[in-house]
């Protein structure tokens, strides 16, 4: 009887991949553990192993095919057994185990689409500069290009962190840097966040321009003493004598199904610290332009990325030197009835919500804060003065959040412009649960933004 071999998920966030290479052909006899194929994602290349014994009876996806969806049948194996009475369900159950063997973290692909914020976001933002050629690039590529360009430009710039060199980055953001810049400038560290954050800060004090990658910002809690006590405060404590021009970067916020310890948005923590610059970009153009600005800054910068946006494609201006100003928010979509303020992954949800609202006759302006410290308060207040209603959308906890800060700003400086109370749409105030259904309800989504907007519009 035949067993369907399906495209495996190699990480919790993988939705599709490239079938890079077949290592077997039709008619080959394989046994458990044999490598059947190589699968490539934007993060990694993995080997796909056989779980069952049998003969390859068909290959349904040719080598080199890109965008093969997780769960799609890629080959069929004849296990040589007579089909039992309940042949079909049994074989499917078996086949479903195959991906699990290749990938320890198996998401439930069927449960995903509804909740994933990934589906084509509404056309984001007008092009930042008219008349510029645009190309399509992922956020991951934009970040990599930003680092590579700055490393070419300034020999003091180097990148250090766990798996940044030979592994090409745990999330493949530093891919190719080792090959171009060598091990002196692309440095694999031991798993020792406190130590290497301190070494980075010391190197910055000593005149270099370190980019310290945290595999995720969850692990940066081990290092937060150096980010705050060493990097943020030294310039002030030294009366402006000793600077610490360093970039701490890495993914921040919730990924998919990784549980509470790996799913936290630290933006409010860092944004509360005088002496730091905090940036949290949404799209590829901002990721590149702001990371380049961060690397050039004389100040310590916390650069918060998001794993779920790494693989998303956006238009990116084709400029020799695309650098954006720090501290400037950006109107992603113009509107007149209400302002939705957000940053990072929340911007995608806000744009999605704005699209839904437009269909219902509500014109929402979407403002991407981009830099969280210093905050572009003028942009928030200007938009509020125009729409008189405001909702803050934040993928993070509600208490003492960026959203709280925006609410306070509107109360203190925009009170006369307000036609309704400002509302916060944040994650639920709980550690992020693992179970798919609980995780889904714990996280912010576009529907909740839509509901909040209607509330402030009294609709």
């Amino acid at each position: 009887m035949s067993v369907q071999l399906k495209m495996p998920a190699l990480s919790p966030t993988m939705e599709e991949g490239k079938l890079a290479k077949w290592l077997v052909k039709v008619g080959d006899v394989v046994k458990s553990g044999d490598i059947l194929a190589e699968i490539e994602t934007d993060k990694a290349t993995m080997e796909f192993e056989a779980v069952d014994e049998g003969t390859i009876s068909s290959i349904d996806v040719a080598a080199g095919t890109e965008g093969v969806k997780v769960g799609a049948v890629i080959a069929v194996l004849d296990d040589g057994e007579e089909p039992a009475a309940e042949a079909k369900p049994a074989s499917e159950a078996k086949a479903a185990e195959a991906p699990a063997a290749a990938a320890p973290a198996e998401p439930a692909p069927v449960a995903k689409p509804a909740e994933a914020p990934v589906p084509a976001a509404p056309t984001p933002a007008p092009a930042p500069t008219s008349g510029t050629n645009m190309k399509v690039a992922t956020v991951r590529e934009a970040l990599r290009d930003a680092m590579a360009e700055e490393m070419r430009r300034d020999s003091r710039v180097f990148v250090m962190g766990e798996e940044v060199a030979e592994y090409h980055g745990a999330y493949k953001v530093t891919q190719g840097l080792l090959e171009e810049f060598g091990p002196e400038r692309v440095i694999d560290t031991p798993i020792t966040e406190y130590g290497f954050a301190g070494i980075g800060a010391g190197a910055a004090m000593g005149g270099l321009r370190p980019i310290v990658e945290f595999m995720t910002f969850n692990f940066a809690m081990q290092a937060i003493d150096h980010i705050i006590n060493s990097a943020a405060k030294t310039n002030y404590m030294s009366g402006g004598q000793m600077r610490c021009p360093i970039v701490f970067r890495g993914p921040n916020g919730a990924a998919h199904r990784v549980g509470a310890q790996h799913s936290q948005n630290y933006a409010p923590w860092y944004a509360s610290v005088p002496g730091l610059v905090v940036i949290a970009p949404f799209d590829a153009a901002d990721a590149k332009g702001l990371l380049k600005a961060a690397i050039r800054s004389e100040d310590p910068v916390v650069f918060l990325e998001n794993e779920l946006i790494y693989g998303r494609s956006f238009e990116l201006p084709e400029l020799d030197d695309h650098v954006l100003p720090i501290g400037k928010a950006r109107i992603m979509r113009e509107g007149s009835d209400v302002t939705i303020v957000s940053y990072s992954i929340g911007v995608g949800l806000a744009l999605e919500a704005a699209e839904t609202l437009a269909a219902e006759g509500i014109s929402a302006e979407v403002l991407d804060l981009r830099t969280l410290r210093p905050l572009d308060t003028a942009a928030v207040l200007t938009s509020l003065a125009k729409t008189n209603r405001l909702v803050v959308a934040e993928e993070g906890w509600p208490v003492c959040s960026i959203a709280s800060e925006i609410v306070a700003l509107c109360m203190e400086k925009g009170f006369d412009d307000l036609d309704a109370p400002v509302l916060r749409v944040c994650n639920e105030d709980v550690p992020l649960p693992y179970a798919a259904n609980l995780e889904k309800v714990a996280l912010i989504d576009a529907a909740r933004i839509v509901a909040a907007v209607k509330q402030v519009c009294y609709r």
Partner: protein, 367 residues
Amino acid sequence: MAKSGKTSETPPAAAPKAATENPEVIAEEYRLRGLQEAYLAAPRYAASDEQLLHFYEQMVLIRRFEERAGQLYGLGLIGGFCHLYIGQEAVAVGLQSALDPDKDSVITGYRDHGHMLAYGIDPKVIMAELTGRAAGISQGKGGSMHMFSTRHKFYGGHGIVGAQVPLGTGLAFAHKYRGDGGVCVAYFGDGAANQGQVYESFNMAALWKLPIIYVIENNQYAMGTAVKRSSAETHFYRRGTAFRIPGMHVDGMDVLAVRQAAEQALAFVRAGNGPVLMELNTYRYRGHSMSDPAKYRSREEVQEQRDHHDAIEHAKTELLARGTSEEKVKDIDKRIRAIVAEAADYAENAPEPALEELYTDVLVETY
């Protein structure tokens, strides 16, 4: 590593049966003793009379400066925390005299006045920082624990116990990255030596062969906790052995011993061999900070150190024995008293920072 290699190459498991039962032998295997052996072959620096006189002068400057800082603290002119270096003068003077001021960098914790004075930084701007004046080296914004002089490659002055160790390792990383030939000296205490980040730094410094000398100033007490109450391994020079960092232990109350050990360590590090860990046994006469009631040790213990182990007295006796005139030594004492009095006057009378300074230097750039 050639010298230490013979003891360090053998893993303890492979040691001869008899040896494994003998703790002393095991200790020998762990210690990476090569540098220490070389140092012990000639344990005191052959200083000229002039050099010794200069060391004496610097140590007296630190002593008198700190005594005056203690007085100003008592008068309420210095606030917050103020950690005096009295008793430990030979450490900073012996080590820093061996450095190349054009290349090498220094970083320490919050007990930092002595290291700055040993670097020749003007006592006036240090004292003015202690009193929180605009003329202070950090413009009054840092205070006793947070002072820096990038011109002198003195990188602080850090208030978090142990934080200077990875920061110093980063300075060493920068030396190596630039290939400027510099070495970083990172000072920390026996208390800081129990911080986890110290060992994270040891690991990377040894792994990457960074040019750094880790100096543990073992003054016997972490605040009020004696080393034997806080440390499973009280021989701090052994603390680098897990990372194959050779250790040295040195009499930190003898400026010439410190200087000699520094020469050995610097030569080893400059040759590209990676880090060295030096334990300097010293003693602080005063409390941990000015607010320390010092109930954890007896007066007799302190007095014994002062009477029999004082680095300044030691140097003075040696100078006189060498034939330096009493007059010359007294001249120095007099000159130092004048310098310190002037620094204190200056620090007392200099204006406080302008209120606008509250908002400056938070960030370098304007966004």
